[in-house]
């Protein structure tokens, strides 16, 4: 078991170095001058100002030198300074990541809860109208353009029904809390500030629902198909023959085994969330990594692009590692392959 984990860890390191190289190379493929994208037109006309700018960001050194400097800094925890915001990238990431983290966690909880529920219901009532309805909803989850869906939900639940707030992490009349972990619900609970916790919670629900909709679809379908596969197996037949009721059979015997592959899907789903993040964050005024990534990419902010990509890749890699280890624990066959 330890050997297995060790192998995976070594690989993770290789992956991270590889990603940093890839990220660095790709972001420098873009044939454009970040100076132009970030200085005012009149400032650009001043050669001294431009020269000072270039020197500050080291844009004059050859590419491979730039990469090694980058790598060394990386190992020291220095991700460079964002050309766009002027802050150290690591500071920007620390500022914006908690928002995304909180949102993704909520989205995953909703996706898993609803997804598994729907999947089970669908499998148990296979080929009946309920099954069709659930399958349609789950497939709708993976078929809808999420930016459009987000706007629709905002319009419906905020403007028309007034059930959820219209974006932002806290109300428009409240000011942003500072300090703590950056996860407002958690901070609120830990500091006993129930008003904050409640407000943050309400603001999380709609964007989390929109974001998790896609993943919910994936999980529902996977749960359904795995459950169907498992329930046709012999040991289930034995359990039924023994006289166990339908419900007990499913929870006691089938669900556990059926959920194993679903763990993979959950991992994939979490990473998928990061994809839909850009649109949802924009529409719900959520100051997170998705927005940061988009703004960095379009303003050709190399340090920020590298930083965000690395962060997301790290999350992805760590997620995969966790899943692999979980698999290894749950399913002994995997360890010995």
């Amino acid at each position: 078991m330890a050997k297995y984990i060790l192998r995976r860890l070594l690989f993770v390191i290789f992956l991270l170095v590889g990603v940093s190289l890839l990220v660095f190379l790709i972001s420098h493929l873009v044939p454009s001058d970040p100076v132009a994208a970030n200085m005012s037109p009149t400032a650009m006309g001043d050669p001294e100002a431009v020269a000072a700018y270039r020197a500050k960001w080291g844009l004059d050194k050859p590419l491979y030198q730039q990469y090694f400097v980058y790598l060394i800094n990386l190992l020291r925890g220095d991700l460079g300074t964002s050309i766009r915001t002027g802050n150290p990238v690591i500071q920007d990431l620390a500022q914006f990541f908690p928002a995304t983290l909180e949102l993704s966690l909520f989205a995953m909880v909703i996706a898993i809860a609803l997804g598994v529920t729907f999947g089970v219901v669908s499998a148990v009532h296979r080929d009946k109208p309920v099954d069709y309805a659930v399958r349609t909803i789950s497939i709708a989850g993976v078929s809808v353009p999420n930016f459009w869906f987000a706007l629709l939900m905002l319009f419906l639940f905020y403007s028309k029904l007034g059930v959820f707030p219209g974006g932002g992490r806290v109300g428009s009349r409240s000011t942003t809390p500072s300090g703590g972990t950056g996860l407002y619900v958690l901070d609120g609970i830990l500091s006993g500030n129930w008003e904050l916790a409640g407000e943050a919670f309400m603001h999380l629900l709609l964007p989390a629902l929109v974001l998790g909709f896609f993943t919910m679809g994936l999980i529902a379908r996977q749960t359904r198909s795995n459950l169907l596969e498992v329930t046709s197996m012999d040991y289930i037949r034995t359990a039924r023959a023994k006289g166990l009721s339908g419900g007990k059979v499913i929870t006691g015997h089938a669900l556990g085994n059926a959920l194993i592959p679903v763990i993979t899907v959950m991992g994939m789903g979490f990473c998928n969330l990061l994809g839909g993040m850009v649109f949802v964050e924009k529409i719900f005024s959520w100051p997170g990594i998705g927005q940061y990534a988009y703004l960095s990419a379009t303003t050709l902010d190399f340090p920020a692009i590298c930083g965000v990509s690395l962060l997301i890749a790290v999350i992805y890699v760590v997620m995969n590692l966790v899943i692999d280890i979980l698999y290894g624990i749950i399913d002994p066959r995997v360890r010995y392959s």
């Binding site: 970040p34 005012s40 400032a43 905002l154 929870t251």
Partner: protein, 539 residues
């Protein structure tokens, strides 16, 4: 299992409904919320103003600032010698009077005597000198505005003598730029600020200034959370009346979200409304719209270099393009309050030229093309970045232009691109045929002279010199002549020369649209500072 799942689902739904009942996020019809809003105000005129915007604030240090909405905040936090409001006419702010010598390079200002900073320190001439020198020496984005300042002297506590390197007829207007915001020199120095020659490396006050203000304006900066909000509080030490207790500028990148929030009363002003989606707010209860012509111009750039521009380098082709565009329809697309500049100076600036908006002439365009040897038309690559001006999408404009040009035989193939990539190639003068916009740095004709041969934009079209000497002559008059009427006349004459001889086709001056709650008074839009919080009260 089924029962359990159903039970859980039911409980979840009930919980959600229960929680939602705790707080209705819908202001309309919820009178208790309305009352509490005016209660917060206390005495008439107080209260909290919430503004929704899509901004790109990167700093709140006036010595570094260069963002579209920067001046909205700087005007609230800091004072300058002169400010501009309507008509780009400079209005005295801290300066009570000024004198200019005959060389037009030495300006002497008398400043107000009873002004105190938010810290309690008195505002004197040394603060003015410090602030301007700092902006100049920081070599940041704001520095070019102060580049023409050669020297500043402070003969006494309330007089400032500024010597310019060259005469500049637009200097007073330039003073409204954030580079000239007056900072509390003692406080800034305490936090690492310096105005010495090496300020570009030695100054470390920016970080502090991003979170605190050191000014004499109506408001004080309470906090700035990047990409989230800016919170301003009333400045108790301000020399004038402060209309509101608190101003919160919330960042909402999606315009639909702003509109929804405005309709629900969660924000008081929506800054990013565009002419197209203004229709969502028309006729809605509790919401009003405000239209004003802006000064940002979209234009077509045609490269004069035959190697790059191809057919677009031919002056006859350029004139044909100007005749081919359907200006009336462009106005329709751009929305109410859009105007046609038709030349380099936007309407609303002193020195703008009145021209007939019915400039379109398809027959003349075809004739010119024939004369140029393109009777059967030609194909050209048309670069249109995925960007917008005041909410007007460039791709929409581009498609309209393409359609117009196709009527005279020019086949413009649209090539989209990210703005960052396009800007670079544009500034290098490598674009053949491009849609671009120009946002004046300050509201004076001098700023627009950038379009002339050998100047900033001219060079980008590879228009280095012109055979027409008139252009240079008139340019000099405009830059230095202090008599407004003579300047204006020169500007009009210049534009008449340019009408048939320039590598541009000017499209539209895009209107600015604001959405605001009907219970607000004093809403007005200014080109430099956008909204003046000092004007606005809650009825």
């Amino acid at each position: 299992m089924k029962k359990r799942i159903k039970a859980v689902a039911l409980i979840m739904c009930l919980a959600l409904l229960g929680l939602s009942a705790c707080g209705k996020y819908n202001d309309s019809g919820d009178s208790s919320q309305e009352d509490s809003r005016s209660e917060k105000g206390g005495a008439a005129g107080g209260g909290t103003l919430i503004v929704g915007m899509d901004s790109d604030l990167q700093t709140l240090d006036p010595g570094h600032g260069y963002e579209v909405y920067g001046n909205m905040i700087y005007y609230a936090l800091y004072d300058t010698l002169y400010k501009t409001y309507e008509d780009s006419t400079p209005v005295p702010c801290l300066a009570e009077d000024y004198e200019m010598d005959d060389t037009q390079t030495i300006y002497t200002f008398q400043i107000k005597e009873d002004v105190v900073f938010s810290s309690g320190n008195p505002l004197t001439s040394k603060d003015v000198a410090f602030s301007i020198n700092r902006s100049k020496n920081l070599n940041g984005n704001a520095s070019p505005a102060a580049a023409n300042v050669a020297d500043i002297e402070t003969p006494d506590d309330y007089s400032v003598v500024i010597t310019l390197k060259e005469p500049d007829a637009g200097f007073l207007v330039k003073l409204a730029n954030n580079a000239f915001c007056v900072l509390d020199s003692e406080v800034v120095k305490e936090h690492g600020g310096t105005d010495a020659e090496d300020a570009s490396t030695a100054d470390t006050a920016q970080e502090w200034l991003n979170q605190n203000s050191a000014g004499s304006g109506a408001y004080v900066l309470e906090s700035w959370t990047q990409n989230v909000e800016v919170v301003l509080n009333r400045n108790e030490n301000h020399w004038g009346e402060v209309k509101n207790d608190k101003v919160i500028c919330k960042e909402m990148p999606d315009v639909n979200t702003q509109i929804q929030n405005l309709l629900q009363g969660d924000i008081d002003i929506a800054l990013s409304v565009s002419a197209d989606n203004a229709s969502q707010l028309e006729g809605q209860d509790g919401v009003e719209l405000y239209y004003t012509p802006g000064t940002t111009i979209t234009f077509l750039l045609m490269n004069q270099d035959p190697d790059i521009g191809g057919p677009m380098a031919d002056p006859k082709v350029q004139q044909a393009v100007r005749y081919a565009i359907n200006y009336e329809e462009l106005l329709q697309i751009s929305g109410e309050s859009a105007v046609l500049p038709l030349n380099i100076v936007p309407q609303g600036f002193t020195g703008a030229l009145e021209q007939d908006s019915n400039y379109t002439d398809i027959e003349k365009a075809k004739e010119l093309l024939k004369e140029a040897g393109y009777e059967d038309g030609f194909t050209v690559e048309f670069t249109v970045a995925t960007y917008d001006t005041e909410g007007m999408s460039w791709t929409t404009l581009g498609q309209k232009i393409k359609d117009d040009l196709s009527k005279v035989g020019i086949n413009a193939e649209i090539k989209t691109s990210e703005i960052g990539v396009v800007i670079d190639s544009y500034r290098d003068g490598k674009e053949q045929f491009l849609l671009m916009h120009w946002h004046p740095d300050y509201p004076d004709i001098n700023n627009q002279l950038a379009f002339l041969p050998g100047e900033t934009v001219g060079l980008r079209a590879n228009w280095e010199t012109s055979d027409n000497q008139k252009i240079d002559e008139l340019k000099n008059i405009i830059m230095t002549e202090s008599d407004e009427e003579k300047r204006s006349a020169a500007s009009e004459e210049l534009q008449q020369v340019l009408t048939e001889d320039m590598p541009y086709a000017f499209l539209v001056q895009h209107p600015k649209v604001l959405g605001y709650r009907a219970n607000l008074d004093g809403i007005h839009y200014y080109e430099v500072q956008k909204i003046n919080f000092q004007d606005i009260t809650v009825k």
